[in-house]
Assembly symmetry: C2
């Protein structure tokens, strides 16, 4: 496994490895884009990627353009050494760990601007995008850049970031990237808490409170499975569990369109309940997200 | 030569031709993106592309996302039959002539929105971009899509659309497209008028007036070569020729940054004088652009 910082070096290494694996034609490259601080969720993506592709690239980059001015860009956990060990164990070929200056052009640092990939306003101006203006422009931009850098055939994303997954699939379709996007199931701690790099921010007490997010979601799912179809009832049920939390949104949307659902339809269930909530921990608020297929 | 409408068919055809030309490795694909109504300027791009690449794709697509609501999208000349003949003669392999529905996803037609590639505000909010809000988002989006569809190695653009060329080079760098952008010299009619598909809109009288654009530019260049360095003087000289025209802008910028220049520096000249002007023709205004290396 090689740890690489520079775009051109990564390109050359992928090219060489492709050639050595028998030509450029049928050797597939899989990409797992991450911000590092790898946990079981990331590892499940890497394992799936490893099982489906000849070449596996994991990017580790805390991307400044997807953080708002008052968000946790500076304090976001950076654990490249531990991440690299996990990647090595998982059989990764290349860990791509660039600095911001390896990734963004000089103009970005002098002008605070760069060419962006911007998803449609209607899909961005809700849920996470509503409280994080510009976030999904930053996400699509870095992901598009990584697609162009690695020329990957497949890319793997966790379903925890459900809106992100939806938007990236949309971007791929709308900009004609010839890349298959694979969404992988949420990985949870034994007690149900969805794994997240931001869980490291949580004190013991905050972690207990955070658990109420998944509890609420599971309770709503239980009710939906019993036949309750009104979104409001299901949402109220989930919210009843989240007393100690500062809930930013709880919504039920269609997996296909990400538009709000009032009544859950019968048949194969395509409704997703999504939550974003902030938990007080060590004097600051930690923002967590989670969701469940109803 | 094949004329192709569908994205997937074009992809397959390029793949097959690549394979038949000896594998995927050293066979280069060149793209000439056009809106059709091909003239000598386009042909010079196609010829250069043909001389440098094993596979030549010319796209002919009047792209709705780069036209403003009051612009000439509907009446823009569409001459696919004639264009195809010119391409055939020039040795083109594929003319890609999709309809808007071949190119844009259903969501665009229902929601009037799509994922866009947006160049930085500072480079867009001047010159042509100032009077055509959203124009360069549309240009970058369609060009990015064509890059992803064709997986081209090189793409050819005319220097007449100087700001467009600058912005596309910037996009390629900032989004890490692994594509070489080649800018080709302006091709002019014998009397100096820069070739443009929009010249077909011009009545005889309007064409005479339009000629004053290139006359003004040449006069300014003459003066610059005599040692005049003040941008204002050079601009006034050019403007003196453009009496009958509705001049939108006349500016001198650096070729490297597209920022305004007040005093032209000595040494290898990197200053560009740019003009956009509207000419009255048959009761409507025709917008023309031109520029010259001072």
């Amino acid at each position: 496994m090689k740890i690489i910082n520079s775009v051109s070096e990564l390109r050359n290494e992928i090219k060489s490895l492709k050639a050595s694996k028998g030509g450029l034609k049928d050797v597939k490259t899989g990409l797992v884009p991450t911000m590092g601080a790898l946990h079981g969720g990331h590892l499940s993506l890497i394992e799936k990627c490893r099982s489906e592709n000849e070449i596996v690239v994991v990017s580790v980059f805390v991307n400044p353009t997807q953080f708002g001015p008052n968000e946790d860009y500076d304090k976001y956990p950076r654990t490249l050494e531990a991440d690299s060990k996990l990647c090595e164990k998982a059989g990764v070929d290349f860990v791509f760990a660039p600095s911001p200056r390896d990734i963004y052009d000089e103009y970005y640092f002098t002008h605070k601007e760069t060419t962006l990939i911007c998803p449609p306003y209607d899909v961005v101006n809700k849920l996470c995008g509503k409280s994080r203006p510009g976030h999904f422009d930053g996400v699509c931009t870095i992901v598009g850049k990584l697609f162009n850098i690695t020329k990957c055939d497949r890319a793997y994303f966790g379903k925890k970031d459900a809106q992100q997954l939806f938007i990236i699939k949309k971007m791929v379709k709308e900009l004609n990237f010839d890349i298959e996007i694979i969404g992988c199931p949420i990985v949870r701690e034994k007690d149900g808490l969805a794994m997240s790099s931001r869980n490291t921010y949580l004190s013991n007490d905050a972690r207990k409170l955070a658990l109420n997010i998944s509890r609420g979601l599971y309770k709503a799912k239980e009710l939906a499975q019993k036949g309750v179809k009104e979104a409001d009832t299901l949402i109220d049920t989930a919210l009843a569990y989240m007393g100690g939390l500062d809930v930013e949104y709880t919504e039920i949307v269609s997996v296909d369109t990400f538009e709000k659902i009032d009544i859950i339809e019968q048949g194969p269930c395509k409704a997703l309940m999504l939550v974003a909530a902030r938990v007080e921990s060590n004097g600051s608020k930690v923002r967590l997200i989670d969701n469940i297929d109803l």
